[in-house]
């Protein structure tokens, strides 16, 4: 198992990003029962805003703040303009609407920022850190720290705030939640905003590593979705474990098996898990209770 730590670290960074995106999928799914296929586009918007604004010479804290607000607004607008008018439709129709939204956002981004990837400078000085014979870039460490904080924040939101509890109640039983007086419309809006903010954050912190391009969202969205399904789509812990497992599996697969089949190996393992435990590794109690 030569170089294990290096492969592991490399996978950890990608895994953190997948986990953040999976978290976004999970939040919207909990509140509305919809898989939001525009999730990857929020990641892209976060990265694009970062590249665009830092390219115009804005200071870094302002860039991060503005990009986060931009992605969140995109999420809220998506909910208000497309999901809310069709709220009586079945989840399947809503899912198809999100696919349309994804194509729209991608097209708008292409026209606004062009097709070439945009450069983003590292947020931290780029001298790599050596740790137990493995190297880790400061930007990679930043990704890990930020996603850990974001995870803790989301988890405490779900556990300790009224709105977080309402969202969990809604995930258990939508009708029951409504009977108890939970404002579903505002809850849905909140879920989209929060989910877009998390995905936008993923885009912001990964942009110095991968640059920003209008079509980066599709693949990241797909990986995040796989991670979410892997983790069971029902809990923040599930999203976290799903994301990290996928990232690390990918890195180990391309390190020890073959880089040509990297994605195939990762998705194959995902399929095996789904065959053996179709509700995901961390299925919520909901399944048993229903």
């Amino acid at each position: 198992m030569e170089n294990f730590l290096e492969f592991f670290f490399s996978g950890l960074v990608n895994g953190a990003i997948y986990a953040l995106i999976a978290l976004g999928f999970m939040i919207i799914y909990s509140a509305t029962g919809v898989i939001n296929f525009a999730q990857g586009e929020f990641v892209m918007l976060g990265a694009m805003f970062t590249a665009w604004l830092s390219g115009r010479g804005w200071p870094l804290p302002l860039v991060v703040g503005a990009a986060l607000v931009g992605a969140t607004l995109a999420g809220i607008l998506t909910e208000r303009l497309t999901i809310r008018p069709a709220r009586t439709a079945s989840p399947l129709i809503l899912i198809i609407i999100t696919i349309g939204v994804s194509i729209l956002i991608k097209g708008l981004a292409m026209f606004t920022w062009g097709k070439d990837p945009l450069p983003v400078n590292p947020f931290l000085p780029s001298e790599p850190v050596h740790f137990l014979g493995a190297t880790l870039s400061p930007q990679g460490l930043l990704v890990l720290v930020v996603s850990a904080l974001a995870f803790l924040a989301t988890e405490s939101f779900f556990r300790f705030t009224l709105w977080g509890k309402a969202m969990r109640a809604c995930a258990y039983n939508r009708f029951g939640a409504r009977v108890l007086g939970i404002n579903l419309s505002r809850l849905t809006c909140l879920a989209f905003g929060l989910s877009a903010a998390l995905s936008g954050l993923a885009g912001i912190i990964i942009s110095p590593l991968t640059f920003a391009s209008y079509d980066m969202g599709t693949m990241l969205g797909l990986k995040g979705f796989s991670a979410a399904v892997f983790g069971g789509l029902g809990s923040a812990t599930g999203a976290l474990v799903g994301g990290f497992s996928l990232g690390i599996l990918e890195a180990l697969a391309s390190g020890y098996i073959s880089s040509a089949y990297k994605d195939a190996v990762a998705f194959l393992l995902l399929l095996i898990v789904l065959f053996l435990k179709p509700e995901g590794l961390f299925s919520p109690e909901k399944v048993e209770k229903l």
Partner: protein, 379 residues
């Protein structure tokens, strides 16, 4: 009143025929002006429009004005075929320039043969002209020439252990095939052969594997943004190996993306990006500088190497039309026998066996990235 208008109209038409005593030469062009590969087709279209206007202002070809009909393929095979048929059936053009991509070129090549219309493709894929098809030509440099240029350099430097890191799409895999096929001829041993996906965001696992093999040189074959990530990852891992890239990243955007990690990277590129640094006795230098100046004056920015392909295609066609006149079969024959034509991307020496006509001597130069810019590599 109406009569006066008719009279004036007649006078205008008459004047027109006075200026253009001869029938216009009508040529067609199909480029990916929009769509995902518009960065290729757009400069091609602009260049061709500029050249046609210039030649008509200068009196046409042997007194014949040139009329160019340009259609957009959006980089798609089906559209390329449709537009090709339209150019042949409806517009009855003498010859066709384009398409921009290898895929679209391969899609229309059999039609060029069937309808006997000379086709000058602007794409790089070697399969377009290999095996040779009588009516199909191409102007872009094949990957093989770029590979030869790199291997000649490595051989001169005595470097023999090479690791490949290629993107898993058409461009990367075509380069990979050539790199593997030509290696033995230059005494080069390929110690690693790694791939990455076009949308991959982290190539460290592949690079760690490469590091274990004791490679002296890493050759990365891809188009943005992958290669820029490779450059940054190599720096993060502190790998001392020489990094060589393909001509796929020979644009300023690559340097912007890779930042400091781009420094010291060597790559083969068309002469256009280092035109100012070429020695004065370079046969292409005056043409290159003049193209840059004219394009800049008209469109306000520097031309890309893709525009240069359209330039070369037009130069060849112009030469063939001047020799052969309005006859497709004669144009084809003339194209095949053009020798020593100085173009943007090399000196064309066509023959019945070679419908590309370029050699690695002129088609590519090695450039090094220093101080955030491309510079001619001096050995």
């Amino acid at each position: 009143m109406r009569r006066i208008w008719f009279f004036l109209l007649g006078l205008l038409l008459g004047l027109n025929t006075l200026v253009w005593a001869k029938e216009p030469y009508r040529i067609g062009a199909i480029f990916s002006v929009t769509g995902p590969t518009s960065f290729i087709g757009d400069p091609e279209k602009k260049t061709l429009e500029m050249l046609v206007e210039e030649i008509n202002r200068a009196g046409g070809i042997n007194g014949h004005p040139v009329e160019a009909i340009i259609y957009d393929t959006q980089g798609e095979e089906t559209l390329a075929v449709q537009k090709f048929m339209r150019l042949v059936m409806q517009d009855r053009v003498l010859a066709i320039i384009g398409p921009s991509r290898t895929g679209t070129s391969l899609a229309v090549a059999p039609l060029a043969e069937r309808y006997r219309v000379p086709l000058i493709s602007c794409a790089a894929g070697i399969k377009i002209v290999e095996p040779v098809k009588p009516y199909v030509f191409k102007v872009a440099q094949s990957d093989r020439l770029a590979v030869k240029k790199i291997y000649q350099y490595l051989k001169a430097k005595g470097l023999t252990k090479v690791a490949l890191l290629t993107v898993s799409n058409g461009f990367g895999q075509s380069g990979r095939e050539e790199l593997k096929r030509l290696a033995p001829r230059y005494g080069i041993e390929i110690v690693a052969d790694e791939l990455f996906g076009p949308k991959d965001t982290d190539m460290k696992p592949q690079l760690i594997r490469i590091r274990r093999t004791g490679a002296q040189v890493v050759i990365c074959w891809g188009t943005n943004p992958g290669p820029a990530i490779v450059a940054r990852n190599m720096r993060e891992l502190g790998m001392p190996q020489k990094l060589i890239m393909s001509h796929g990243v020979a644009s300023k955007r690559f340097i912007e993306l890779a930042g400091k990690a781009a420094e010291g990277i060597i790559l083969p590129a068309g002469k256009l990006i280092v035109a100012h640094e070429l020695p004065d006795n370079d046969p292409q230098k005056p043409l290159l500088l003049s193209y840059i100046e004219r394009y800049k004056a008209r469109y306000g920015k520097e031309p890309s190497s893709f525009g240069g392909h359209a330039y070369d295609a037009f130069l060849l066609l112009k030469e063939a039309l001047a020799r052969a006149g309005a006859d497709r079969a004669k144009i084809r024959e003339a194209l095949e026998n053009i020798k020593g034509l100085k173009g943007i991307h090399g000196v064309f020496n066509m023959s019945p066996q070679d419908h590309n006509g370029l050699s690695e001597r002129e088609a590519f130069v090695l450039v090094e990235i220093r101080g955030g810019n491309f510079h001619l590599l001096k050995d």
